[in-house]
Each structure stands twice: as C-alpha cells, then as structure tokens.
C-alpha cells in the first residue's frame, strides 16, 4: 500500500488500475445491476454495461494506452458508445475524470476535483438532484466525503475509502426513494425498496478508484440486491 498526500501524484499505474478495476467490478456486477433496472426501470442497464465494457476493451486493444489520460479516454469513449441514459452520463463523468490532469497521473486533490466536475457534468446534462433516485445519490456524498477527508489531511487511499463508504451509503439509501428521474420514475411506487442501479454502479466505481490508489482490495458488492 502506497501512502500519498493530496498534492503528490498518484502512482504511475493508477490510470490502468482504475480502468481495469472499474471494468472488472462492473462486469462482475452487471447481471445484478441489470436485475435492479428490471425491477425499477426498463431493464437495459446490464446490457448497457456489457456493451460499454466491450467497447472499452476494443479501445484498449486498438490504442494501447500508456498514460493516465489515455487509459481514462479508452474508458469514457467506450461509455459514450452506449445507449440509454447511463451511457452518455457515465461517459461524460469519466471524461471529466480523464481531464483530472494532463498526461501525468493526477494528484488526489486533482482526482477529487475531477470527481466533483464529473458530478456537475452529470447534473448539467441529467438535471437530477440528490433524492431523485439516480447516480447522483451516490456521487454527491462521495465527492463531499472525499473533499472533506482530503481537507482533513487524510492520505489519498484513506480519503477514497471514506468516499467509497459514503457512496455505498448513498446508493443504499435510494431503496427508500420513489424515483423522480430516469426510466424508474415511470414505474412509480414500484421502485420502492429497489436500490438504484446507477447509484450502485457509482459506488463500485469509487470503490475501484480506492482499490487502484490503495493498490488492491476489490470493492465489496454484497450489499447490492
């Protein structure tokens, strides 16, 4: 485990590890997340994830990314090749992550600001607020927790662990909400009791980022169901 300060660049391989971690974690959870979308949405989220990951793989194979930005570009371009609402929103979110730094790996502080920028972008395009039962319900607390932890002087991996916890917390809280945005809003109270799959996916992404920075430890997925 590497200990880094907010202003020190994260490890050289953080881009690669982050992207690989996101792909592995989301790939493993795709069926479960698709089921959630089936129960309170239109059921295509699992397919959308798989399509995105296949495109990311293609991009990696074609472009042989080396730098952090190249790795994240392979990720965000893959997601932009996907339909539904999650494709463009995750795509633009990852694009902001890609822009965290120039070619070098970002610092923890830059990563936090990039996550905040990503949240703002998702909200600019998706117009969702906290409480609408969307990915914002996981993203907003994660960004807040990360910034707070870094301001408190906690080291990068530790701060990301706090962000992950907040994201999981936020995602789990969506089970208590009736959706107001996205396809899930069409099913009304039937979405009660079902975790928003996009929010859960965000929590896994933050978990994958934590793992990449911390140098290991796949995100827990047992809470999703």
């Amino acid at each position: 485990m590497t200990a880094t300060t907010p202003s020190a660049p994260l490890g050289d391989d953080v881009g690669r590890d982050l992207v690989r971690g996101v792909c592995e974690t989301l790939g493993a959870a795709a069926d479960t997340l698709g089921d959630l979308d089936r129960r309170a949405g239109d059921g295509d989220f699992g397919t959308n994830i798989r399509t995105a990951l296949a495109l990311v793989d293609e991009n990696i194979a074609a472009d042989d990314p080396q730098t952090y930005r190249q790795w994240l570009t392979a990720l965000f371009m893959g997601w932009l090749g996907v339909g539904g609402t999650s494709g463009p929103l995750f795509g633009m979110f990852f694009r902001d992550l890609a822009r965290a730094a120039d070619d070098a790996p970002p610092t923890a502080a830059q990563l936090a600001e990039a996550l905040a920028a990503g949240q703002a972008t998702v909200q600019r395009y998706g117009e969702a607020e906290v409480g609408d039962k969307t990915m914002i319900d996981a993203l907003e607390p994660a960004v807040t927790a990360l910034r707070g932890a870094l301001e408190d002087g906690r080291e990068a991996a530790d701060a990301l662990r706090a962000a992950e916890e907040a994201a999981v917390q936020g995602a789990r809280s969506t089970a208590r909400i009736t959706a107001r945005r996205g396809r899930a809003s069409y099913v009304g109270d039937a979405s009660q009791g079902v975790i928003d799959p996009g929010a859960a996916a965000v929590a896994l992404v933050i978990g994958a980022a934590r793992a990449a920075v911390a140098g290991g430890g796949s995100p827990d997925t047992s809470w999703i169901a």
């Binding site: 932009l80 090749g81 996907v82 339909g83 609402t85 494709g87 795509g91 395009y125």
Partner: protein
C-alpha cells in the same frame, strides 16, 4: 396479426442502411462502425450538416443525405437515439473545416447525445451549433421547464433550408440561424388510425377502437393526449388544421409551405384527399400554399396516419427551399 419483411430484427438498421447505400451508389457512402450515411463525395469548404436520431422514421434522416441537404445522417436503433460516440463520429465526418450544424429533433435522448457530441467535438477543434426542431403542436404544454414540443416533420424543412444555405456558402452562425428560424415558426399536428408495429412484433404499439382516432400522436408510437371520434377525410384534416391555424395566427395574404406527411402506411389517395382539403381551407382563408410536399417523409414504421406541417414562408426561405437538391428522398 402483423408481420414484417425483416431478417433478425437486431440486424435491421445496419442491413437497411446497407440496402439504402447500395441503392444509391453514386450519391451515398456507408461508414458501418458508427452507422453513418455520408455523401459519396464529401463536400468541401462549406458548413457541414449532420442530423440523425432513432430509426423507423425513414426516409428521415439518411434519405436526405446528398447535395443541397445533409452531409451525414447518424442512425440509432429503431426509435432509440444514436449514441454520443456515433454522433461525435458523424459530426467529425460532416466537418469540412467551417464548423458543423447539428439538426436534432427534440427528444431527451437525442438532445443529450448531440449536445455531448457537440461538446466533445470541441476537442478536435470543430465548432458546432445545434438546431433543435420542436414543431409538434400537440406537445405544446406552455410549461417552460418541461421537455418542450417534440420534433417531427418540420425537420425536413430545416434540413432542406440549412442544406441550401450551407451550399450557398453561409457561415456556421448563418446556417444555424436560418434553421432556427424555420424551427421556431413551423408547427405540426398528427393523427393516427392505427399504430405502427415494431419489426418482428405481431401487434401494433397500441390499439384503437373502431370509432377512435389518436389525435396528436408522436412518431415513436407514444400514445397521444387525446382520442377523438373517427370521421371523414375532410373532417380529419380539419382536426389537424384548426389548431395549427389558431396557433400560427396566419393572416390573409400570408404564404406558407405545407407538408402533408404520411406516417407510414397511409397511401397516396389518402394523402391527396388531405392535401385537397388543406388547399380548399387555406384558399378560403386567403392564405397561399406557395410550396408543398405530399408524401411519406417522416414516418413511424407502418403507422397509419398523417401529419400536417405549416411553415410561414418569406423570400429567403422560399429561395432556400427552391435551391437544387439531390438526395434519395428529395430531388429537384
């Protein structure tokens, strides 16, 4: 029971695009990966024009690629927006160095993906302008914060006049401006006697009683806000025309471009009856139908219905409308 001439429904869009391009080898080319239909000879030194959206509305959009109209059409699956990546590649393909106008029908998914593609194409130093088409009067709720009116058949007019302006050498802002002028002035009303059927499905998207007409129907098989009693061709036409006239506030001596548009399986005799009534009514009102199109241009699979679009005309729009065009679906 409905059936379709289709292979694997999942392959429908790429196969159909291939068929279209093979049928117009001198006019069109296909970029398979992103389902782009482009001009065979890319235009040079003009503002580029890209449009697109879900499939199932043919000949829109790929049928309007060619000289004097679109440079590139981007196709999503049936009734589903193309992805941001497709639109991005379409926007790049349309660029000839003078920026690209993106013509977008106002649906959440399309707007999202075109806006994103526009933003990202900035990474390649391509300037873009979006022209949003939102002519569907049936969805005019007056609610500022709602999704706004849907985009339907006025898209053809926007694509035509923007295409002509670009061909004339207008710059990015000018091309976008004339498109927006049409979009803000045009209004459309639609009705259906029968919904369309998804390729491979055996039942239409919704069913109507013998005495029912879906008034204000959309082009994705969305149900309309109103069902009204069935009536004859003249009275059906009036159902479309009355709200259009009320909304547009046209006056004696005004000139309009009219589109009598079949929504899929309306046949020419039916459209000609609607056109006739339209001409009679506007002649009575002293409004000149200076230009018109009668045919199936913006469809909803095999929906049996018709839409009526009116666009107030001025000299500039008439000139741009009359400018030469050569595309699979519109040529003069």
């Amino acid at each position: 029971m409905r059936r379709s001439i289709v292979n694997d429904p999942g392959d429908l869009v790429p196969e159909a695009l291939e068929g279209l391009v093979l049928s117009h080898p001198r006019l069109l080319a296909l970029q398979e990966t992103h389902r782009l239909v482009t001009r065979r000879e890319r235009a040079r030194d003009k503002v580029g024009l890209v449009s697109g959206g879900g499939s199932g509305h043919e000949p829109l959009h790929a049928g309007f690629v060619g000289r004097g109209m679109l440079d590139v059409a981007v196709s999503g699956a049936v009734f589903a927006s193309p992805t941001a990546l497709q639109v991005l590649e379409g926007t790049k393909a349309a660029d000839a160095g003078r920026g690209v106008v993106q013509i977008v029908k106002n649906y959440t998914g399309d707007v999202l993906n075109f806006r994103i593609a526009g933003e990202i194409s900035g990474d390649d130093a391509i300037e873009t302008e979006i022209v949003l088409v939102d002519d569907d009067l049936a969805t005019d709720t007056g609610d500022e914060r709602g999704p706004g009116r849907r985009g339907t058949a006025a898209t053809v007019v926007v694509e035509k006049v923007c295409g002509a302006a670009a061909e004339e050498g207008a710059d990015l802002q000018q091309v976008a401006a004339v498109g927006r002028r049409v979009a803000s002035a045009a209004r459309t009303m639609s009705l259906a006697l029968e919904a369309g059927t998804h390729p491979g499905d055996s039942a239409p998207q919704f069913t109507l009683g013998e005495d029912e007409v879906e008034l204000g129907v959309g082009i994705h098989g969305e149900r309309a806000a109103r069902r009204v009693p069935f009536r004859d061709a003249d009275a059906l036409t009036d159902l479309l025309l009355d709200p259009l006239l009320a909304e547009l506030g046209l006056a004696r001596g005004d000139q309009v471009l009219a589109i009598v548009n079949g929504l899929g399986s309306a046949y020419p005799l039916e459209l000609q009856l609607v056109a006739r009534r339209l001409h009679h009514r506007l002649a009575d009102a002293g409004i000149a139908i200076d230009r018109s199109l009668v045919g199936s241009y913006v469809t909803s699979l095999d929906m049996h219905g018709v839409s009526l679009t009116l666009v107030p005309l001025d000299d500039e729009l008439r000139r741009l409308w009359d400018a030469p065009v050569r595309t699979p679906a519109l040529t003069w």
